[in-house]
Amino acid sequence: MSDLHASLPARGLWDRLTALFWRRPGLLVGVLIAAPLLWLGVVYVGSLIALLVQSFYSIDEFSGVVQREFTLKTYAELLRPANADIILRTVTMAAAVTVASAILAFPIAYYAARFAKGRWKAAFYLGIMLPLWSSYLVKVYAWKMILSKEGIISWAANGIGAGAVLDALLALPGIGGNSLSTSYIGTFLVFVYVWLPYMILPMQASLERVPQSMLEASADLGAGGLRTLWSVILPLALPGVIAGSIFTFSLTLGDYIIPQIIGNSANFIGMAVYQLQGTAGNIPLAAAFAVVPIVIMLVYLGIARKLGAFDAL
């Protein structure tokens, strides 16, 4: 009887490692996340902290040398009318792009989540992802041509006799311009086009998680389609809408290429950062500008949380 064992003999290093990990589960988790944690901690958060620190430095206006002393002077500069304008312009654009994306994305995401099956579902994913596979610059330049004065939109508008409508649109004070490609309307259209997939995908994922029985329960209790949409579907899809809006909002806040190529050359935060750290050599002010979107996003998430956007998670 003495040669009966409850366990198999160890077959080498792997067996001993397996046994060690089984005895101390924390060790395995530690080994697995060590490298990503190092990356996240040092490279990612580290550079963010470096950025934050830079924003509290200032620049000597005569010599152009960065003074490594803590001061709020640089942040005060953000409030100068020219800089405050940039911030306001960027935030307004980001908000408009986000709202438009949400309105456009919802029916598409709803169809994909509730009705598309098999082949149609594949077509949906392909249709959403395909634009993401081609270069961002190519798409933006393509849009510049589409929106230009000689472009297909004005050609088509004139062709169907809607040229006056387009002219009236471009004559709008503030957002109008010479042509679509040199107006805020054009910048807005291209932003919406480029970021729309980032709104559709999380929205579709959250709509797919709303059980059919929930919609039936609402109808069973007397609710029509609109009431169900407002009281059941939207609240349950809200986490997805918030996730999508984080993408569209923050991507618009940080972009510096689209407003450079399309629009009236007015400065956006991203462009300001690009110019300040490059030609102007004003790293502290560039850093302070870069902190603005981070703060705005934190405030936005805080409000979303207060409103209960994550309650259904």
């Binding site: 059980p211 029985s213 069973d220 007397g222 349950l236 259904a312």
Partner: protein, 317 residues
């Protein structure tokens, strides 16, 4: 579903019983309006429901997964119906409190569904469906997710509630015990058709065919030759295990050998291998021995006795 014709009386507690995929849930969804019949009509209180969408029927449903809205608290869930109808907030919240009291959930109004147990969620679903004062309440496997003790308590409670409110309850279940103990009448579904409709006691005592006998309870199903040995020649027959008695083998009408025993608490279910008149046609007959009586050991020769009236002839299919 095929060729289903069913009339449910007002104020009745009606059960639709059957295995999964037998069409009972489809039948329920036809009444609620979530499925449309490809042919035929659904009438509720004589009114053709062909063009009436679910939200305009005086019918409410307790869903199998309860389908409580997770983002609303219990009070808002229950008052959803009146909210949709545009009842002002104070009135509808008071009404919700009244219904929560009816299902013994007073004081739970502020909780979210996720903070409730399965049984409590079920009561909330019940209150939410009843607040619209439906003329028919549909219940889709209402007790399926509850444990045994709770299920029995809820059975009594549903029965009591139905009597108090006096409205028609139609419920779907695959649990024959549940159907028999709660319902006034039962429809047994099999493969999209109705195998038998009738009062619960009749379904149990006189199954119309082999399917019903097999599905409802645990009857002995006797093929014609064996039925002849039990005194009902010429047809298939059913015989309840509790209608049989173990007697001494000497002089018994039918004898057999005990091949197995399963202890059930309230009694012991014996399997007895018997042979018919011809001596061939071997069959296993289940006999329920009440707890107070001696249980013969496995392998013993025993006699079987029964009341002739207990052998019930039926359709083969």
């Amino acid at each position: 579903m095929d060729d289903v014709s069913l009339t449910i009386a007002e104020g009745e507690f009606f059960a639709m019983l059957g295995p999964s995929g037998s069409g009972k849930t489809t039948c329920l969804r036809l009444i609620s309006g979530f499925e449309k019949p490809t042919s035929g009509v659904v009438r509720i209180f004589g009114e053709d429901m062909g063009a009436v969408p679910p939200n305009q029927r005086q019918v409410n449903t307790v869903f199998q997964d309860y389908a409580l809205f997770p983002h609303m608290n219990v009070r808002d869930n229950v008052s959803y119906g009146p909210m949709v109808r545009g009842v002002d907030r104070r009135t509808r919240l008071a009404e919700a409190e009244r219904l929560l009291a009816l299902v013994h959930l007073d004081g739970f109004g502020d909780r979210k569904p996720a903070q409730l147990s399965g049984g409590q969620r079920q009561r909330v679903a019940l209150a939410r469906a009843l607040i619209n004062r439906p003329r028919v309440l549909l219940l889709d496997e209402p007790l399926g997710a509850l444990d045994l003790k709770l299920r029995e308590a809820m059975q009594d409670e549903l029965k009591k509630l139905q009597r108090e409110l006096g409205i028609t309850f139609v419920f779907v279940t695959h649990d024959q015990g549940e159907a028999l103990s709660m319902a006034d009448r039962v429809a047994v579904f099999s493969q999209g058709r109705i195998a038998q409709v009738g009062p619960a006691a009749e379904i149990y005592a006189r199954p119309a065919n082999r399917f019903v006998a097999d599905f409802v309870g645990s009857s002995n199903i006797l093929p014609p030759l064996m039925a002849a040995a039990f005194g009902a020649p010429g047809a298939w027959a059913s015989l309840r295990p509790e209608a049989l008695r173990i007697v001494p083998a000497e002089g018994a009408r039918i004898r057999g050998r005990v091949t197995g025993a399963r202890y059930l608490g309230a009694g012991t279910r014996l399997a007895v291998a018997v042979s018919g008149h011809s001596g061939k046609e071997e069959a296993e007959i289940a006999v329920l021995v009440p707890a107070a009586q001696m249980v013969p050991s496995e392998g013993a020769m025993v006699g079987i006795d029964w009341d002739t009236g207990a052998v019930h002839p039926m359709e083969p299919a």
